[in-house]
């Protein structure tokens, strides 16, 4: 089963290598991983989609927690959340096909961001399923180039699922 983890990490050099290395050496399967800054420049947020049963997920979470640079992990799979992927697709679209492709674009609420003599470049955001559907629909026209981000996700409502306010608390000892 796929799980979506929201992971807050220190924005320190090598943190991506630590997390990615942990997954590979312990044999966990990453479906996707997206990482970027948060509102706090010292903290990055990773959205990791990982495949495994509950036991695997427990180990993934515990092993991630052991990394000193990992601040907080939330498995938001069971929560209501908004998730998005972004895709850029360069698709064949000569004169005869252009209108059709533009219509498909409209259906998927994708935007045309560039034009070539024989191609169109589209941008589309949505959840995993929608992006897959767009990709499949465009495939018959001939996809020249395609790039997808991993999924990013955020829990719905006012609840701050990552407990972000808490992480500023400092431990004295």
């Amino acid at each position: 089963m796929l799980h979506t983890l929201a992971v807050l990490v220190e924005n320190s050099p090598g943190v991506l290598a630590r997390v990615a290395g942990l997954f590979s050496r312990r044999g966990y399967n990453i479906d996707s991983l997206a990482v970027g800054r948060t509102e706090d420049p010292e903290v990055s947020r990773m959205t990791i989609v990982v495949d495994g049963d509950d036991r695997v997920l427990e180990q993934v979470t515990k092993q991630l927690h052991k990394l000193v640079d990992v601040i907080k992990i939330s498995d938001i799979t069971a929560d209501e959340y908004v998730d998005r992927e972004l895709v850029l697709i360069k698709v064949n679209a000569d004169h005869s096909q252009r209108v059709e492709v533009i219509q498909i674009c409209d259906v998927f609420r994708a935007r045309i961001v560039d034009l070539g003599r024989k191609t169109l470049t589209l941008e589309c955001t949505g959840n995993h399923g929608k992006i897959n559907a767009l990709e499949e629909t465009l495939r018959p026209y001939g996809i020249k180039e395609l790039v997808r981000t991993g999924k990013i996700a955020m829990v719905r409502g006012t609840k701050n699922n990552t407990g972000y306010q808490d992480i500023g608390t400092k431990e004295e000892n």
């Binding site: 990490v9 220190e10 050099p13 427990e58 180990q59 052991k66 990394l67 601040i71 608390t169």
Partner: protein, 554 residues
């Protein structure tokens, strides 16, 4: 006043009350060596960086303090790798400082450059590459804190040469602020009550105690627990010496080469109390048949160990010492003798045995060593058959008296580790039992032992083969012995003499008593080359994939 970061580093070590460091100099670490010149901190110059890190490991195990290692970039750092991995697997607190090429050269394949932090990510608890010299003192503070708290482990600081030479304003932080690192020390009170309840209900409890007892220094609490609830105790390899080896409740080691009594007790128990142990594959054998009837209480400071290999009924995350201190007052004294009688029957029925008659037997030498030292010596081993014979036949009566490479099983560990232990425990009897194979992996440290005037007693079980590998080839490969012959060994007694160490050769059983007594009484280092048979095997043995209750005689 501004000082260089290298000078600040040395002052930080002084603030951490580091009395000595093990190291080996080289180009990029020279600023640190220059700063050490003015310090009271002693530097132990080893003969190979691997020796430095194993020695720091032995020192840390023996004293409970953080071992400190200094080495240069490139080959200095790569030579540390085995030792760092060893400390990581056995949860030993080390702080390792490596030189690095100057920041402007990092990433250019410069002379003696390797990606030290990259290489050591999987084998350190944490590591730092210093890119801002002013941050160095905070990183050192963090490193000592991370290395020594929670589940201990090695922490590495990679220090580029230009950073080491940068002037900074010295300060040493009093506190650490690590929002991603907050180890749990106190067990959850409800879980501790649950554990007490389960113990009260159990009829056939067994205590399975590992290296966590040694690292949290909780032998006294373990003894109190065992005696209060009258439960037999078995140790993992790393747990040995945390419970008195001559105690009537002691079952010996469990697992692959464990005693039958320990393995039968675990297989038949209805409650397994796991303390600072991690259900390693060498302990459990076929995991589905490990303690099949038992409820499991698992106390460990590392939450990731709980439920990793076996399901646990009462998980308690916390420092074993603190958890036991809180658990003990909640327990009733138990006296029901029937389970213990059963366990005693197994102990009598299946003692460890070997053929005493005839030639010089390694098991006999260990038994004699135990007798002469009263189990009070600190015994370090290398890895292999001799290690198992020490684990089986030496009855440890000094808490923390066993120093051995468990998780990594790194041959070459023994000699430098014994050296580090002896430095930490001056005035105590430190004995190394080592095979002829492992001894030759790090024997260059004899030079360090002489230089530091360390009275380590070295006992080589010399069978002129790689004994454990030979045993495996006998059992699993029909005796098709391949690449195990060491018949071109040097004469180790003469080798010792070349270093100025007293060297003896032991050939017969009759010599054991006198030679051992004589060697142990010597004020300086002694090496005894014991000539033993290659045919001797470690017994009993649980074959791969079998239940631990199903051991064979070897």
């Amino acid at each position: 006043m501004e000082i260089t970061a290298a000078q600040a580093l040395v002052q930080c070590l002084e603030k951490e009350q580091v009395e000595l460091v093990f190291g080996y100099p080289g180009g990029t670490i020279l600023p640190v060596y220059d700063a050490l010149h003015d310090s009271a901190i002693k530097h132990v110059l080893v003969r190979h960086e691997q020796g430095a890190v194993h020695a720091a490991d032995g020192y840390a195990r023996a004293t409970g303090r953080v071992g400190v290692v200094v080495a240069t970039s490139g080959p200095g750092a790569t030579n540390l790798v085995t030792g760092i991995a060893n400390a990581y697997m056995d949860s030993i607190p080390l702080v390792i400082i490596t030189g690095q090429v100057s920041t402007g050269m990092v990433g250019t394949d410069a002379f003696q450059e390797v990606d030290t932090t990259g290489i050591t990510i999987p084998i350190t608890k944490h590591n730092y590459l210093i890119k801002d010299a002013a941050q160095l003192p905070r990183m050192i503070k963090n490193a000592f804190y991370i290395a020594s708290t929670g589940r201990p482990g090695p922490v590495l600081i990679d220090l580029p040469k230009d950073m080491a030479e940068t002037k900074i304003k010295f300060y040493y932080p009093e506190t650490v602020h690590l929002r991603g690192y907050k180890p749990t020390f106190r067990g959850h009170p409800n879980q501790i009550s649950e554990a007490a309840k389960l113990i009260a209900q159990s009829e056939r409890p067994v205590i399975y105690a590992g290296g966590g007892i040694t690292s949290s220094r909780s032998s006294a609490e373990l003894l109190a627990l065992a005696e209060t609830i009258n439960a037999p105790v078995t140790n993992t390899l790393q747990g040995l010496s945390s419970f008195p080896g001559d105690h009537p409740l002691f079952l010996g080691m469990l697992g692959l080469h464990g005693t039958r009594a320990a393995n039968l007790a675990v297989t038949n128990c209805d409650l397994l109390i796991a303390l600072g142990a991690r259900f390693d594959d060498r302990v459990t054998g076929k995991i589905s048949e490990f303690a099949p009837q038992a409820g499991v209480i698992h106390v460990d400071v590392d939450p990731a160990e709980i439920g990793k290999n076996v399901p646990v009924h009462v998980p308690i995350v916390g420092d074993v010492k603190q958890v036991l201190q809180e658990l003990l007052p909640r327990l009733e004294k138990r006296t029901d003798p029937s389970w213990l009688e059963q366990v005693c029957t197994w102990k009598q029925e299946y003692p460890l045995r070997y053929e005493v008659e005839g030639a010089l037997k390694p098991q006999y030498v260990v038994e004699k060593l135990d007798e002469i030292t009263g189990g009070q010596a600190v015994v370090a081993t290398d890895v292999g058959q001799h290690q198992m014979w020490v684990a089986q036949y030496y009855r440890f009566r000094r808490a923390g008296g066993f120093i051995s490479s468990g998780g990594l099983g790194a041959m070459g560990f023994g000699l430098p580790a014994a050296m580090g232990a002896q430095i930490g425990l001056s005035g105590e009897q430190v004995i190394l039992v080592v095979g002829d194979g492992g001894f030759q992996m790090t024997m260059q440290e004899l030079g360090t032992i002489v230089e530091q005037q360390l009275p380590v007693k070295i006992i080589i079980f010399n069978n002129s083969v790689l004994g454990m590998v030979r045993q495996l080839q006998k059992v699993y490969y029909e005796g098709r012995y391949t690449a195990i012959d060491l018949k071109f060994n040097p004469d180790f007694a003469i080798l010792a003499q070349a270093y100025g160490i007293k060297g003896y050769t032991m050939r017969s059983k009759e010599e054991v008593d006198t030679l051992l007594s004589q060697a142990l009484a010597e004020p300086g280092p002694v090496l005894i080359n014991c000539l033993v048979s290659a045919e001797e095997r470690v017994s009993p043995m649980v074959l791969a994939g079998k239940s631990i209750s199903d051991a064979i005689d070897c």
